[in-house]
Structures are given as C-alpha cells and as structure tokens.
Amino acid sequence: MNVAVLRSMLWIALVVAGPFAAALPALGAEIPPDQRRSGYADMSPDNKAMQDDDTSNPGMLAVLDGEALWGTKAGTANRSCADCHGDAKTSMKGVAARYPVFNAARGQPVDLSQRINICRSQHQQAKPFAHESKDMLALSAYVAMQSRGDPIAPPDDQRLKPFIEKGHALFMQRMGQLNLSCSQCHNDNWGKNIAGNIMPQAHPTGYPIYRLEWQGMGSLQRRLRNCMIGVRAEPYAYGAPEYVEMELYLMQRARGMTIETPAVRP
C-alpha cells in the first residue's frame, strides 16, 4: 500500500487508541529520504519558470546588489569582502551548503548572516548589517547563490550535536495558542491542502528567498517567524539562537538536497 494510505490508517488507529496512545512512534517520523521534495516542486509552472530564469527571477536583483557590496570597500579598515576572499565564485562555493557552522570564539554555532557580521565588525571595522536589512539580504543571497546546484552538506562536527538536538526538539514541540509543532504540519501533513496552498515539507534549500507574498526578499528567520505567528506563538527575536538551532536541524533533515538560492516562492 502507498504511504498516504498507511498514514491514514495510522491516523485512524491513533484516534481509536485515543488516550492509550502514550508512545507515538510513527507520527512526527522523518520523511523518508527518497520522498523529500523542495517547495519548488509544488509551485505553478509560471512560478517555476520565474525561478529558473535569472533574467526574470526577482531574487537576482538582490544577488546583483550583493555582488556590488562584495566589491565595495567598507569600514574604517576600508576593506571589501573581495580584498580578503577574492572571487566569490571560488571562495564562497559550498559555504551556504554547509552553514551554520560552529564558531570556536563564540562557543556556539553561527549562521551565514552572523558570519557576515563577524567579518563586517572584526575584519572591516564596519557597522554590522541590521537583521533582514536590504544589504544583509543582498549579500547573503550573493554568497548563498555561489552554492546553487550543490548538495546540502552540513559538517560532521561533534560540537554541533547538542545544538542540532535543540533544533530538533524545537521542531517537534507544540507551540502557540493553536498548539502545533513544525513536525505535525511539515512531517505529517505535507502535500495536503492548507486552504489553497500545498503544505510544503519545509526544507531550507533556497534562502534567502523572494516570496511573492512578501513582494520582497526574506531570510529563513523571517519565514520561521511567520510560522510561529501563524500558530499564535510569540516568535523569537531576530538573531535568536533558537533560529540557528532550528536551521542546523533543518539542514540535517535536508542533507543531500540541492541548494537553489535565490528561490522564488508564492
């Protein structure tokens, strides 16, 4: 029988089992690796075409801005990214595919935008970019795009383990007045219709994305905040460690899937 039928039977079995269903092994189970799909797959042909063509992909405007920033000297050190990192096509290839990484100086993982700001403040002596600012999104998009086409490859770093586990716990925990976990929607009900939209599996393959609903670019954190607001939970502040932990877990969950930054989404 197919997985959808099995899932329905499991559902029915659990409703019947009711309060006796203390252990719930099947629900919240990971999506089998060969069934993982990017949100791209559920888009309309028009939106797919928009993403596929660099001359029509609105996210490419941010990438071009980011390319300009890459070469612009900044800060009291009067240094550009290029001055240290050279050609981004070479130096930044694979970076977005493996972030977040452990930062020894901070003793905790950092995501790409935090790493950009570490470079800004420590190596350029420049003011860090504000969360979700045009410049941060542009530079992140430019850097991440250098991994486009690469498989997601989180590093096998034991120091990350406790943070990945925290991220997993966050993904599994019910939250908000609507009392829902990420897993309940994105592991258990992906592919179904949530009032006119196909429920995605929620893989971070294309961030920062150009979301048509936003009419603009946005980071993974912005998307996670939207979800938290959607279940009537208090979102964590931008830059909160919880987002890095969730991203770490999401990258593990999406291991091997292809980076498609800058993605277009409805």
């Binding site: 409703v15 719930l24 925990q173 019910r174 908000g176 929607c185 939970a233």
Partner: protein, 149 residues
C-alpha cells in the same frame, strides 16, 4: 448516598475542570467522549456559528472543508464537515472543539477552549481561549445542523 458520592468522584476524575487559577474559563465536565452540558446555558446560534467557521482568522477552513460554496480556499488536513452533525452529537462536538487532545494526544486540532499547558503563546492571545464559550456553543449549534442528506 455512597453511590452518589462515587458518582461525584467519578465525574471529578473525568472532569475537565480547569484549576482554580484559570478562572477565566467556565468549568465543564467530560463524560466519555463528550461534554454533554452547554458551556453557557445560552442556546448556540447556528447562523452566528456558520459565520465563525467561515472567518479566516478563526482558522477552521485552513484544515477543514465543508458545504461552503462561496469559500474558494478550504483545507483537507482534517475531515470534511459535511454530515458532521450526523456523525457526532452536540456533546461530542463540544469536546472536540473545546480540547480534542483529550481524545487524541497527537491531534492537529487546536484546543479552542484551553489556556493552560500551552507553550509560548503570543502576547495578544495569552490567557484567553481561541473561541469564547458562547462562540463554542454557536459553532456546535451550527455543526449539528450539518446532517447527511
């Protein structure tokens, strides 16, 4: 006398009475898979109930679909509401709306009349249920009208 005490004890065990701390919610009693008694004693208004179900902000149609030809976007994460009044009694519907986790701990149905045991509720929704007791009654009244043809 003893039988009556035992009955009271049994009702208390099954009771969905919120603790004294959450005096904002009216107490209710679960019997089997239902809350037989009205939360307010005021009959639910089915027309109001339909309006509540259709209002996007109340989230019903995110997951459910039903006999709402004017509504373009309805979900299929949860059972279709057509005929729900034939499948469940008023009391059974009341429990499912109030707190479906009582029947299925893994349910995706939000607890529309609970304020405790929730995690990180947004400030503007804190300490109040998603639907008021009367709104629950209105929705129950409406859903009971959805009979199989």
């Amino acid at each position: 006398m003893r039988a009556r005490a035992a009955l009271v004890l049994a009702a208390t065990v099954l009771c969905g009475n919120p603790s004294a701390a959450q005096s904002a919610l009216v107490p209710y009693t679960i019997v089997g898979d239902a809350i037989p008694q009205s939360l307010t004693g005021v009959p639910g208004d089915a027309a109001r109930g339909r309006t509540i179900v259709l209002k996007r902000e109340n989230t019903c149609l995110l997951c459910h679909s039903g006999p709402f030809p004017e509504e373009r976007f309805q979900g299929n994460l949860a059972p279709d509401l057509r005929g729900v009044g034939s499948r469940w009694s008023e009391g059974e519907l009341r429990l499912r709306l109030v707190d479906a986790t009582r029947l299925n701990p893994a349910t995706i149905m939000p607890p529309f009349y609970r304020i405790e045991g929730l995690n990180r509720v947004a400030q503007s929704f804190r300490d109040k249920p998603a639907l008021t007791a009367q709104q629950i009654e209105d929705v129950v009244a409406y859903l009971e009208t959805l009979k199989d043809k």
